[in-house]
Amino acid sequence: MIRSATPVTMIAIAAALALALALPVIAPGYYVQFASKAMLMGMLALSLNLIVGFGGLVSLCHGAFFGLAGYMLGFLTPDSGGASLWLSLPVALLTVAAVAAIIGALSLRTRGIYFIMVTLAFGEMLFYLFHDTRIGGGSDGMYIYFKPEIAIAGSALLDLEKSNTFFYVALACLVGTALLIRGLVRSPFGHALVAARDNERRALSLGFPVFRLRLAAFVISAMIAGLAGYFSAAQFGFVAPQLLGWHLSATMLVMVVLGGMSSILGPLVGALALIGLEEVLKSSFEHWKLIKGLIIIGLVFALPGGLQQLAAMLQTGSSQVPDLGADVAEPVPAPAGEARSHV
């Protein structure tokens, strides 16, 4: 199921963490902001992988949870100053959880391609809710003029207006998310979730409540996406309906697949790689989206295992192409072994 991290991986993680801690000291301000943004996207990819990679559920409404939490921060921020993080963050996350529970309860009644279409449609429903009605400023979006305040007993603890402080808070959230997902995947819950992905019928007949299991994973994943959305809205001071749209959800899927779904940190690598690539492409090519599209198509055909597969291929020289494997498994797997036709 989940391989233990090799020493090489451990060293790489430690080095990346050290680099991240030092970044605000060594990099100019713009790149610190950029890194904060990239880390929030990384959280988003990590959260999506909980249900796509480990749950086998391809959701196209994750962007909606990301955006919804941002809007909640917008609603909770007064005109005169920042909202209290202690209040606004839980409210935002609980709202996301409630909405995800409703959407999940409806969509998880369906399977496979239906699930994709239904989550897409519900995500767009939220998009249109914010786009077409005046709540949250309609298609104009909404401005958040003050970042949330982190204070204890009236004295400010951390000042998110400082981009370095914001960076460290985002980093802490990212590390926390990674640890949370690692914990979940190794827990009984995670094992049951993976079992339901691999063989839903068997998981049911063993007694796992697959629907509740998936719903819980869906809601947890949505809340992490909401956490990323909350801080993203705080960083940019603006939320727009486009944040809820399915293009963001699809981009998140690209990150997940690019990084590789079989590991916990893969999607984070995918997110950082994709965002970095976009930044480079944007400033070098007029038609960078064409290149991005071609890269995605290439990924599907040549590298369905993502960057991990690339690394493995470089190591072993093999180029065996596995499938993405994150689909809702057929209820009954192929018969095992060399079953003879029966008498």
Binding site: V58, T110, M117, F122, K289, I296, L324, A326
Partner: protein, 288 residues
Amino acid sequence: MDAITFAVQLLNGVQYGLVLFLVASGLTLVFGILGVINLAHGAFYMLGAYLAWAIASYTGSFALALVGALAISFALGVALEEVFVKRMIGRDHLAQVLLSFGLILVIDELRQILFGKDVHSVAPPSWLQGSIQLTEVLSYPVYRIALCLVCLVLAVAIFYVIQRTRLGMIIRAGAENRDMTRCLGIPFDLVNRYVFAGGIALAGLGGILVAPISTVFPGMGDGMLILSFVVVVLGGIGSVTGAAIGALLIGLTDTFGKVFFPQVSSILIYVLMAGVLLWRPNGLLGKA
């Protein structure tokens, strides 16, 4: 609301629904028969409209634009099936989602390179340009009525092909049981190719026919894609009859929603969808 206004709004709703049906039927066929989810469907709708605009403004003839854009859409469908989609059959849905997302980006950017990003309008053929006087202040454009008729004829044709012809029988059998069809010696690869190309052509045709009453603009495919998805989810994947019912439901809900509940009109169709899903998770006519 008096009777005649009600009738006109009804006509508006039906006309909108018919166009939706045209586009969504392509989507539902491709899924039902190939088992392939195509998020780029809306992009082909947009491309059809741009092709129609380009040909119409070059030749000055709407008829040529119709034929030309349709032929190009179909050919594109054949080519894409050959290069990409063929390899997608049997792959998991995630791969299909990503492929079609990549295609959207590529098609959108290619359109920008070929046709630019401006908003255009296409003139209907001159003999369809007038309006019919309905009340003392209101006329109804002839082209919209013609559009209704064309969509109706196409809908009947689609049903005829599926229910009454040998091709339709193969298509239905294929949707029912793919392996069985293969065993019967039916050239399944060929069927796949033409169904996919036909689906793309239907999306393109939707774009072409709508071009004279809508504007041709870059983002036009996105809204249509989502609506088509809702139609397919409502009607049941693979069911053409379901798509017809779903499309009309949405056309009417949207039109009357705009009149009676203008603030929430665009949410109404999703409320409708959620309601249907609660009742029948696989759509109105979907297989359980």
